[in-house]
Amino acid sequence: MSQDPFKNERFLQSKLDEYHVNVPDIPLYLRKKRWERFINYLASPAKNPMEPMVSTINGIMLVKAGPVVCGTVLSVLPVLIFV
C-alpha cells in the first residue's frame, strides 16, 4: 500500500503484531436467541459492588457489623414500640 503510515514504524508493527485474538466457536443463528443471551449476561463476570469497602479495615468492619446492627435494631424496634 503506497500510503501506509506504518511502513517505517517497525517497532510499532512488531508490538501490534503481538496482539492476537483467539476466535471462539460461534454458531450461526439467523434469529436472535434473547433468552440464551440473557443467561450468558447473567453468567458473565461482574464487578463486586462491595470491593471498595473491603479494601479498608473500617470498610470490612462496616460490611460485617452493618447487618448485625441492622438486625438487632429491627428486632428491638417492635419491642420498644409495642411494649
Binding site: E9, K15, L16, L28, L30, S44, A46
Partner: protein, 179 residues
Amino acid sequence: MFERADELMIAYQQGDMDALDQLYLLLKGPIYSFVYRYSRDEQLSIDIVQDTFIKLHRSKHLYEKEKGKISSYLYQIAYRLMVDKLNRRKKWRSFLPFLTSVDQKEVDLADRMSVREAIAALSDVHRPIVLLFYYHDLTHEEIANVLNIPKGTVKSRLHYAIKKLKEELGGEENVSRSL
C-alpha cells in the same frame, strides 16, 4: 479471500444458503477480532458477530457489489451495532454502576497487555481506524465508508493514533535501549 467472499455473497443473494454458511466461516473471525480488539468484551463480540449476520440475512438485497466489498459492508454493520450497544450499556451503567463487567485481562503476557492497553487507551474515534487499517487491511476509502466520515479525516486520525501509540508504547526509547 475477499474476492471469494464477494462471490459467495452474490450466490447467497441468488438464494444459495450454503454460500451464507461459507461466507460466515470466512468472515466471522475477522469481524470478531475487530469487535473484540475494540471492546475487549468476549460476550459482546460474539453477540455482535451473530447480530451482524442476522442483519445481513434480513436485508441481503440491500448489498450492492459496486459500492464496495462485502467484508467492508459487514464491518460497517458490526461497527454500528457495537457502538449502539456500547452507548446503551453506558446509559444503564450511569443508573446502575454495579453492572460494570470485569475487564478480562491476561496477566501472563506483559507485552501483549501493554499493546492491548495502548489500543484501549485510544479514543473511540481513533481506535476503529487503527484496527481496520492495520489488522484488517482496509484502505482509507473503505474505512471512510465503514465509519461514515471523510477520507481526509481518516488520514489525519490515523496519523494522530500512530503518534499516540508510539507515545504509549515508547517506541523510540525501547529501540535506542536495545541498540
